[in-house]
Chain length 308, copies 4
Amino acid sequence: MPVKDQQDEGEKRMRVHGVFPPMLTPFTPRGEVDEGAFVSNIEKWNRTSLAGFVVLGSNSEAAYLTEAEKLRLIELTSERAASDKMVVAGTGVESTQETVHLTNEAARRGAQAALVLTPSYYTDKMDDRALIAHFTAVADAAVIPILLYNVPKFTHVTISVRAIETLARHANIVGMKDSSGDVPRLTAILNAVPDRFNLIVGTAAAWFPAIALGMRAGILALANCAPNESARVLSLFEEGKIADARELHNRLFALNAAITATFGVAGVKHAAEVCGYAGGAVRSPLQPLREEAKQIIERLCREAGVGE
Amino acid sequence: MPVKDQQDEGEKRMRVHGVFPPMLTPFTPRGEVDEGAFVSNIEKWNRTSLAGFVVLGSNSEAAYLTEAEKLRLIELTSERAASDKMVVAGTGVESTQETVHLTNEAARRGAQAALVLTPSYYTDKMDDRALIAHFTAVADAAVIPILLYNVPKFTHVTISVRAIETLARHANIVGMKDSSGDVPRLTAILNAVPDRFNLIVGTAAAWFPAIALGMRAGILALANCAPNESARVLSLFEEGKIADARELHNRLFALNAAITATFGVAGVKHAAEVCGYAGGAVRSPLQPLREEAKQIIERLCREAGVGE
Amino acid sequence: MPVKDQQDEGEKRMRVHGVFPPMLTPFTPRGEVDEGAFVSNIEKWNRTSLAGFVVLGSNSEAAYLTEAEKLRLIELTSERAASDKMVVAGTGVESTQETVHLTNEAARRGAQAALVLTPSYYTDKMDDRALIAHFTAVADAAVIPILLYNVPKFTHVTISVRAIETLARHANIVGMKDSSGDVPRLTAILNAVPDRFNLIVGTAAAWFPAIALGMRAGILALANCAPNESARVLSLFEEGKIADARELHNRLFALNAAITATFGVAGVKHAAEVCGYAGGAVRSPLQPLREEAKQIIERLCREAGVGE
Amino acid sequence: MPVKDQQDEGEKRMRVHGVFPPMLTPFTPRGEVDEGAFVSNIEKWNRTSLAGFVVLGSNSEAAYLTEAEKLRLIELTSERAASDKMVVAGTGVESTQETVHLTNEAARRGAQAALVLTPSYYTDKMDDRALIAHFTAVADAAVIPILLYNVPKFTHVTISVRAIETLARHANIVGMKDSSGDVPRLTAILNAVPDRFNLIVGTAAAWFPAIALGMRAGILALANCAPNESARVLSLFEEGKIADARELHNRLFALNAAITATFGVAGVKHAAEVCGYAGGAVRSPLQPLREEAKQIIERLCREAGVGE
């Protein structure tokens, strides 16, 4: 459960603890946002051990949503989330000024923190100087705390450990989601940032190793379909049941690999449906799953012991 | 000069011939679009041997512009371009439906063709199936002809030769800008598409080799500062002065490398200023050039014999 | 300590447990193998908690040694290693027949197992079919057990999990060193192979996470200079002192990053000298460390609490 | 035809002009070098327009040959090559001292120049400093002229243009084979080196563009099966028949792509057999072609108009 606590020097810092789904955005067959389905997922997730919600992450097809659609989804999430669930909104776009704008609009609609993707279009120009300038400007102007978001699989940009070390000193940058899957890098980051910096793992493939390294939060695609199991890897470890935590991690591993590395968002959506949530269609240019892929996911859900 | 001509089967096809700048977007120091500067560039370029304009290409910082800014720039370009200059607008965004929307809005504001970037966020899902579906849907719905745009340096996606071969059969897909700089690939594409398909080279580093291979159009960052010189590489070749064309290409090579590979958009903008055009500021997260970089560009302009 | 134990179906399988250094090869300033220095290192390492030795690994500059030099180093290692230390020899070269030849010559000189690098020259042809054929042929012909060796940083080849799953069924393939640093991949491999398959981590950057995942052996460049500390990360974990194990891992992390990722073999050699072992010169084309690099390594040794 | 000519400052420099095959090494089904088949190829190639021979290139499976086999093949080539054909031997291995040794042994067996591959095992350490030191040491000690060999597809190392510029000043470094296929890079190199430096293209996919840029030599896998056609692309261009040269290049393109990018050495060997030369088996871990691949190559030979 996320809490705000008092920090050294009287500074208020957010503590992020537990599992969050990068929430799926269900579309109707005609490609419109299916708000009813979106809300019904929230209501089910409210009854799980999830620590909160990330609206507009990579698995939300945020890249395919208009600004109006984005703001509406933030609003819906804030309204419907149970009071003990934290609401984080993805607000990073390519330009600094638009990212500031979107972050503060998200705050107005109830987001408690913003997850800010690295800009990436001019890939080789997104060096330490540019990234530090960008995130500093956003954090300066934002009325809610900022979490950096590093996902090189999609952006082909990596925030260097040195840049993270610098940015972690900013009073309004409270953590980072790292989806690189690069576990040695997680150690390097942990060694470079203060304890109050919330390093959050962004892929279930590294969930147990990240916990072993001392991390306590995950924003995991897998949590869309297996929220309680994802959260239980952490709680088992915290109870000292390390072998059980590892075994559960191992059991979820193949399903997670299928819905992230192999099949992507359409795979996450099908797994969510297998598990009783609303997946819905993907938006073009993403393509619907082939029948064979659906059967693989159904088998992997059974083997992982998730779903109905 | 671009002309429309009659094709086999009575099909009307656009022919693209000559050099186009991917137009710079000058910003004021406060980060606003400087429309006056933008228009003054068009007026100067109108008096050069350019074949037309590409508004909202990669060098236009299109990724950092709002939709309203984009449409205004298309409008300005259509209004101010000399009547013999073709106007192409970059309209590709991540989602298929938004790309269709933007393409037809561009057409309403006078764009004669649309240059459509590959979607790229879910990089490894942008396979032949997804790209063929995306470009087919856009070309079906667009009221102006479509040019595919392949720029792996920024998108980390490459349209396969096989997908191009398929898409080149679509009546409303009239060509492609390839900025890979991969000259063997250009041969492979030329061998796979009909003559009427306009293969356009997207980097001056491959301009002379592309001409030697039979290509007749370039959308070249270099043309922002050296429009006549860029066009002259082609006209010399067409006059049979092959050694002169090659020599001019070689002379422009180092300057082009600096403003594209090394310094990027900020470099193109400074070179444009050296050559009497308005460059203006870049928009954040792009960072301004350091003084040293400016001096290198000034020296390379002198050595290439461009500018004042 | 390595032991051979009885396996199901009466099959004898080697069990690899503990830490091994990929032994440095000290060269004289004139570039000759310094056998005296090599032997003096073995004698010191004999008195540490190392489980054994890997002669002719990547950090041995094996790529720069002649066959005669290689065989002599194997011989020296077998002769001088304490009786409770296992001796593994790197014997993989590009061709299958030469790898078989070198493996059996290594066995004649006392090697107890062979570590067989993936061939890599024709990178994109080293697919599952080629690698399975290669390792199967080597394992069939070898008179000692085979450990696969995956080190994409140097070879740019990765043995797929599917190929590992197949090869792990071979009676004479007893394990694998994976130096990818890709911890999610380690989970995938562990899920695919039988318990008797010795998965060995090949980089200290992933040592603690690998232990947390259940692995029990490491072939670590760091063990050349910090053998007892490297071994202690494992023994602490096995004693249930998980936080202590993690803390020691974190403490060694920056030194290891410097001597592997940043400075390479010359860095490992300097760190070894700082810690009282013989490093010696590197062989060309490797270049000697600059003075500044030496000082960084000395500082990192102090900060990690290793050395004299 | 290669000739030595007088240069400025009285320096003797080799001029390389025309097409050379990186000669296939035919193996018997048992994996031994088939010297009879090797010699019969030379005798046929002697009657073509080839400018000479490259023995022990990448397509010779040099990585799979012992030193004794290498020296024997150099000897055979020197003995059997027609007097007007130049003999170049590939002598680059990982260590500087072994490269010097092999180069001078090659010279003793009649090689007129050595083609020296970049060392590559410690990929990220093969920076300008290491490569300049390596090639300088080799060129200093070699009794025959040196050609640098850049083939990143296999080595994952690229000699920078800056390093080439430095090395091109060495009296005994007379040129370079570049197999990157990166045509803009060829322009950059040509702009950086003196005229007497022989820049040789290493892939037929870039042959016509390289000629258009002013290059006059190619070491082309394709020349193993289509020596006269490969040479004719150059002679047509030199006769001013540019469109014919381009058309022939385009006609050979798909066959070349198949035997290099798609099928590799086994593909070149099959195409050679289709064209009346001896291909023989590949050595393991390279795998024999599947039947389907053979049929594709046979069709492409017919379509390119080469073979019998």
